[in-house]
């Protein structure tokens, strides 16, 4: 599988990372090197093998579905690049 520039641009868009047009050829070429390396996995017979979902066989703990924490608006906003009137502030989302 070979990745062309338009696929590289699409992936960058999906990842929400701005990549300038003149950087796309190099990016596509790096992708191809890495994917070429990954292609080796096709040699493995995985017929009937379950994909791993849990590293160590364990049942994840459960707890009551109740609020255990909260009331710390100031702390939550303290690291925001732009916080106003108790909210995170962002540029306009809709026209």
């Amino acid at each position: 599988m070979s990745i062309d520039q338009s696929t590289a641009a699409k992936v960058a868009k999906l990842a929400r990372i701005k990549v300038e047009d003149d950087a796309l050829p190099a990016l596509a070429s790096e992708f191809n090197t890495i994917l070429g390396f990954i292609e080796q996995l096709n040699e493995v017979d995985v017929e009937g093998v379950e994909p791993m979902v849990s590293v160590t066989p364990m049942r994840l703990k459960r707890r009551e579905d109740v609020v255990t924490d909260g009331n710390m608006q100031d702390k939550i906003l303290s690291n925001a690049p732009d916080a106003r009137e108790g909210f995170f502030a962002v540029p306009k989302v809709v026209e």
Binding site: A15, K18, Q40, V46, V55, T56, P81
Partner: protein, 495 residues
């Protein structure tokens, strides 16, 4: 006592308990060593006030007869751990200015045990790298050199600052994290000991996530005993990490008897790579001989899917990273890009992530995005997870056949020069983790022990891989290897 910063954890603990020194003295010796070692770029955020305050508190506790394992011992914390009120950037520009309002479970447990935090340590950005060259703080530099050659060498990565700091005696020990070898490879490159415990032993809560099914914290120390002491303080169940194991943590130090008679040590034939340097081959054979002399039985084993571990890792780790790093959007914390007139929220995300993430992080996030995208999920991601099942089964089979631990080289070479791999394609750098990455995929404990020097005078390490949850037994085997190898070399001070 002189050169207090050169002590290990056990030695310093014993000296504190006997009243031969104080935590304040130990801490001051380390702070002085740190200030004289800016050339290594290991400590990137120094916290002398916190350190001295905790040292005074520790001295009070010791005086009052309440001295838990780590009480009064000065250590460094990798920048990946969130530390309350102290910059915690994961060596990334995107977390510039971030000061967590909370403390990671592991660093909290260490603080509760009385450990003294000296500051935050350099690393590869988001722990993605094997040479500490992707850090926003610049390269960490190894205290080791090739004889009289003044070429700057890598301390390894991603826990490069931790390795450099411990090897140069800037602290008694340090925390590291290991997703594909990030504790064991830098430990091997710098002549120190590093253990990655079983997945689930240490809580991941408050540690900046890279690949959640692979990440584990662990100690980086001057010897095996110190690793046992510090690991015990770091381990334990934490309800805030749903994959944290709710099983008792043994007294690891008490398990260090050095007696490994009758233990079965496996030598996996698939780790004998083409083009492996003769020195590494010899080190490995010597290590097996040492364990045999100590009474262990050496057996040849096969881990047939070893070859596929790195390619599987380079699907799974970027996939998880692309998901974990989605949270860096310039809204809730860290850095937001300057926006142009009329830019909307999408431009904010795209510009923030383009200027906030370094090149390697961007590359991995995008590879991860690709392998998870519609149409490729099965071909790449699911296939990699199936191969992961097979890799884990390889280990289960040899353990079921009675093998207690597996001996391998820790790295395919000694430390390389900073910048020497820049021209290579990314896959060349990834090959550094060829002996360590299998262990993360299988969730097993692995330890790197310094075992010799190469002909240029650089340290080489051996890795021991243990059964799940049997870190105590693994540490004991490592202790026997350490005793036999008798590695005592230290880097000559040039900084």
């Amino acid at each position: 006592m002189s050169d207090l910063n050169k002590l290990g954890l056990a030695e310093a603990r014993d000296a504190l308990r006997k009243g031969e020194t104080t935590s304040v003295e130990l801490t001051e010796a380390c702070l002085k060593a740190i200030d004289a070692a800016d050339a290594l770029n290991a400590f990137v955020h120094k916290t002398p006030e916190i350190a001295l305050e905790r040292a005074k508190a520790a001295d009070e506790r010791i005086k009052a007869g309440d001295a838990p394992a780590m009480c009064g011992l000065p250590i460094g914390i990798k920048d990946l751990f969130c530390t309350k009120g102290v910059p915690s950037q994961a060596a990334s520009r995107i977390l510039e200015g971030f000061k967590p309002e909370y403390e990671s479970t592991v660093s909290q447990q260490l603080a509760d045990a009385g450990a003294v935090m000296l500051g935050k340590l350099n690393m590869d950005e988001f722990a993605m790298g094997s040479s500490n060259e992707t850090s926003v703080y610049g390269n960490a530099v190894s205290p080791w050199r090739r004889g009289n050659d003044d070429t700057q060498l890598t301390p390894g990565g991603s826990s490069g600052g931790s390795a450099a700091a411990v090897a140069a005696d800037l602290c008694l020990a340090a925390t590291g994290t290991d997703t594909g070898g990030s504790i064991r490879q830098p430990a091997a490159f710098t002549g120190i000991t590093g253990i990655k415990p079983t997945y689930g032993r240490c809580s991941r809560w408050g540690i900046v996530a890279f690949a959640s099914s692979l990440d584990q914290a662990g100690p980086m120390t001057k010897n095996v005993r110190d690793a046992a002491i510090m690991l015990e303080a770091m381990c334990g169940h934490d309800p805030k990490d749903s994959t944290s194991a709710d099983i008792p943590v043994p007294n690891f130090e008490a398990m260090l008897t050095g007696d490994i008679k009758g233990k079965k040590i496996g030598i996996p034939k698939e780790y004998r790579m083409d083009g492996m340097p003769a020195e590494i081959e010899k080190l490995w054979a010597d290590g097996a001989e040492m364990l045999r002399d100590a009474g262990a039985e050496i057996v040849d084993i096969s881990l047939p899917h070893t070859k596929y571990a790195l390619p599987a890792y380079y699907v799974i780790a970027p996939a998880e990273a692309s998901s974990n790093l989605a949270r860096y959007d310039g809204v809730r914390y860290g850095r937001r890009a300057q926006l142009a007139q009329g830019d909307g929220i999408t431009e904010m995300y795209e510009k923030t992530r383009a200027e906030g993430f370094g090149h390697e992080v961007q590359r991995r996030v995008m590879v991860g995005t690709y392998v998870l995208s519609a149409g490729f999920y099965d071909a790449y991601y699911n296939r990699a997870r199936k191969v992961r099942t097979l890799i884990k089964k390889d280990f289960e089979d040899v353990f079921a056949a009675g093998v207690d631990a597996i001996l391998t080289p820790a790295t395919p070479s000694a430390a390389f020069g900073l910048g020497e791999m820049t021209e290579a394609d990314p896959v060349q750098m990834y090959l550094n983790d060829v002996f360590t990455v299998t262990v993360n995929l299988a969730g097993l404990p692995g330890i790197s022990v310094p075992a010799g020097l190469d002909k240029q005078g650089l340290p080489l390490g051996l890795q021991l891989i243990g059964r799940p949850w049997e870190e105590g037994d693994l540490l004991n085997t490592a202790y026997a290897l350490e005793n036999a190898a008798g590695f005592v070399a230290k880097p000559g001070k040039w900084w």
